[in-house]
Amino acid sequence: MAAEFKTAQPVEYYKQFLKEEVRPDGRELGEIRSTILNVGSISTAHGSALVKLGNTTVVCGIKGEFASPTVEEPKKGYLVPNVDLPPLCSAQFKPGPPSIQAQVTSQLVADTLLSSNLLNYEDLCIKEGNMVWVLYCDMMCLDYDGNIIDACLIALLAALRNVRLPVVTIDEDTGLAELSSTEDRSLNIVNQFAATTFSVFDDSILLVDPTVEEEDLATGLMTVIVTQDGRLCNIHKPGGTPLSTDQIQDCIGRAQTRAKEICSLIDDTLDSIER
């Protein structure tokens, strides 16, 4: 009976639950799904991570390649993020060119990387004006159950911290690069960040970490990206229900708590791998 009611009148179905301050999956309104993180699972990549946020699964692989730096910034390497939402992960994505959702998410990840000062890009320099590292960060969604942005950013950050780049020496005579097979180094991540997504149900109720059903029914979505030390990195609100200053302040507070949790989760996971 419940299944038919849910299909026929999804909004009413949700209202019945939300009246009792609980969501259909048993969570409270402000509760985030359990987050599971695994790093270094892809051996062919320089760094990798797999994140499960409830059912949402994102795997991120980072591959370093040599590239010439830009003329304006001869000492800086760069990161190229890409979010892939293949048909495998949800029925709403079809084969072919990247969906709008994938493009918008990629752009948001790229903007966040630019504005967060995550790492010193000069660390990626091999030879000034000649050769730098370019890190291709591919995030692939395996199971799409809402809140893809949070999952992608956790996966990206964990994978970046997992990166081991071989030490490169340039042969003076031939000018060729030689990779060291024994020595490698990790990236110096200066500034960590984490995102928290909120969905607005029925123009009034704020839900944290929405599932795909909640996102479809939402009258508005907002993602707050906060760095580890509590600075705001982005308040991404692509339209939807207008929110008052008090509501936004509430969301920022929750995002700051969440960012600390995420950063310590990543720290713990990396520690357990290294041991």
Partner: protein
Amino acid sequence: MTSNPENNSSVEIRPIGSLQSCISKPDGSAVFTQGDTSVMAAVYGPGDVKPNKALMDKATVTVTYKPKIGISGVREKALERMIRNTCETVLLTTLFPRSSVDIIVQEIQDAGALLACSINAACLAMINAGIPMKCTVAASCCMMGKDEELIMDPTKEQTKDAECVLTSAIDSSAHSLIASSMQGSCSVEQYHKLMSVCQKACDKVFEFYREAMERTLSKP
């Protein structure tokens, strides 16, 4: 419409101007300029919709963003999504089920605050088209420089050495935040300062909408 970037003091937005019903075919159109930034928007609708895109309970809103040069890429898709959702929030889409509202936004010149200018142009075009709306929406851009000085409606040159650039769209009834996007980072207090400056700038735009409409409607 010319503006001098030097003249752009920190508390004033650049001179704004508009031109309405500038093209004949759309149901509503407007050119919105903020300083040297200029955007043209056109609205077709409510009109026919492709059967596979029709929604049973409301109108389908689409936004097409055309950059000045080149073809649209990922950045433009992100802008489109932002403008579309913002316009859909203020439109009374439930009045026109199984129909479409198409908004076309053409960048004419980008001299900073492009997203804000695009949203304002789209809103003015919707007012010009006479589509029923809940309220109007205005967007503004504000930046914080290296030594924490706030600059309202910065030019492209000014944003180059910005710590944080905030674009926010605000509705005219409750003055709450509809859309927001940010580049760079700032503390929470600084964010609230930026927001209050944006609010003031948006109020100016709301006033301007009223003046612009009065001017257009009082034409002989």
